[in-house]
Symmetry: C3
Subunit: 269 residues, 3 copies
């Protein structure tokens, strides 16, 4: 329960401090992640012009990089913004959407990891595995439900890339180099609408802006987002349009006390 | 009822096979068409970088091209993706948004039709007429309600461009070179929110990925989307925000049996 | 009540004439402003390719420029479209999103104001103050609630830039060079979702397309949008996802008579 107390205090800090989350993100989810940011209690800005990203990131509590609809110039802006974030101590969160599907995505995500000090990577099992170089080792990750292999993959990934990694799926696994956490909040409906992975990354950005321990930040964010998904699904059943609307409602309605009582976070390693 | 049986089986195939629909589309509807894809039971990807479209289309069940917010580089990516799709036998669907309004749109749509083998074009009466070169012949198409002239336009278009064409409006007309179908599902509320034409094109992509007969694919998709519109309008009345939400719910809730019982497709020529 | 009668007649004109609102706008709100346009009763088009903006603006009742996700080429397209709009007498509305946050935003907004005859600028107190050169003079504008200083800022801004200006916030202030209006409709929930400022600008574009007196156009639009916010908040309470949906419903449901009865517009100078 000590973990739950900490993450609930982090939520209160976000609501009090209203950090700016600077997104350089994909065109599919710009509106949705901006609204998720507001529901969390933070402030969104979407700015990707090469000429302004350094100035914008200076106001930010976190920088969220998402390669969902990447193109070469966008990656340049991400690296420019990320270097400034590194210089200023602003946490950098990377969502390597679709890594492994194309060479451009894989190369771009690797370039970002090489050029920047990334604090947290959030991806699904396939994306993290590919980016960690484990393709051959974990077959059928989607059906594994977050058991043994994913814990090892996450620990190895954290070591190789010197960062915190969050693998999201039926169960979420978060590792830094010293500990591994499991988060069991969530609902299957989160996989029935687009952009929920990107929203999770945004909310991780919010928690990372107020919490030095980045694996705890990621776990707290995933517990909160998963809890919002549970509550929204209870409201709307198997209707994806209605669920999408209720998801925003529920993110905004969750109070620190709710998170303290209902976060399902445990240390597994 | 033989047609209805076929299109309901096609819907079941989509739900079973979960084809990837690769979109190179406009910035207004990226989220909305991705969500429509998920509600249909398929998987969306939005990828338009010149360097990755050939790889991405190799995974796809269909390639959806939509020129709603076009710019010259995007058209190049569409043609590159489309050539690969043609080589691999992946169906190509074109939505020529706003053709006729500007020279760039008209020239770009014509270039796509010239450079690629397009399987299905989906547009409104004005767009299809202009792209078929019939401007002078069918005046006031918007008020015609899909009667005689549109059938002739669609047949001629299919012949000229060697493809299937779907003209959507109060009644939808679908022609290939051997037959013409009329689809009477739909609701006026579909014209009260943006992106429903684009969503229809997306759903045509889904049906085209499992059905060789492309006019049947287009008719089945339009019947299903129109039925979802009818059901959503019955849920929400004349409230466009609520209708938009219910439309996603209803796309996802329609089962093959519902489509078999309620599709209004007939052969008219 | 003479003002209310005029703005209600303007709403009727929009519903009758269905003007096309040409947007060159940001990627976050393209769908949302297109849907707000349809709910208002006008027709949206989003077109930003340099090669087509002159043709497109020729069909338009108003040109809406929004720099929310600007990049240098987009500003060039805005200026090209705006010159054509000026030549054709199409009203130009500018939303200087984030001016002051980065040099690119400030320089771009100033370039637009210098190169074009802008009819109406719509921004929050900070944006308008910075663009008017008043940074040092009005501290803490966000907490001022639209009292004295903002009226002076708006009057000075209108004089300097020879245009109408609308400062939106808890209370909205609209000035041209001859009069200043205060609009008191609105609800705090409008600040809980993204894009409501951009939607307000879109609706100003709609009213500007039917009303020569641009401060009256802006005031009517802000009264209508604020009233929609009040009604939507009454429907949904403190739930931002549900409020977003209800906001579209309410924009579309407001009739001229409702606006006549409930607009809170007064002349303050």
């Amino acid at each position: 329960m000590e973990l739950n107390k900490t993450v609930s205090e982090d939520l209160q800090k976000i609501r009090d401090q209203k950090p700016l989350l600077h997104h350089i993100t994909n065109m599919v989810v710009m509106n949705e992640t901006a609204n998720a940011t507001l529901c969390l209690g933070a402030l969104p800005v979407m700015a990707h012009a090469d000429d302004e990203v350094e100035e914008m990131v200076a106001y930010a509590g976190a920088l969220v990089l998402n390669i969902g609809t990447l193109y070469p110039q966008l990656i340049k802006s991400m690296i420019r913004a990320g270097r400034q974030a590194n210089d200023l101590g602003v946490p950098v969160i990377l969502d390597p959407v679709g890594v492994g599907a194309t060479k451009l995505r894989t190369d771009s995500a690797k370039e970002i990891l090489r050029e920047l000090s990334v604090d947290i990577v959030r991806g699904n099992a396939a994306e993290v595995s590919i980016l960690g170089g484990f393709e051959g080792e974990i077959k059928g990750v989607e059906s594994m439900g977050g058991s043994g292999d994913l814990i090892n993959v996450s620990k190895e990934f954290a070591k190789i890339h010197d960062c915190t990694v969050a693998i999201t799926g039926e169960v979420d696994i978060v590792s830094d180099q010293s500990k591994t956490l499991k988060v069991s909040n969530g609902d299957e409906m989160l996989s029935k609408i687009t952009g929920t992975g990107c929203m999770a990354t945004t909310i991780i950005g919010g928690f990372a802006s107020v919490q030095e321990d980045k694996s705890l930040a990621a776990a707290g964010a995933l517990a909160m987002f998963g809890l919002a998904g549970e509550l929204a699904a209870a409201d709307t059943g198997n209707r994806p349009g209605s669920f999408h609307v209720a998801l925003y409602d529920r993110i905004s309605m969750i109070q620190p006390g709710d998170l303290k009582d209902n976060a399902k976070i445990e240390i597994v390693s």
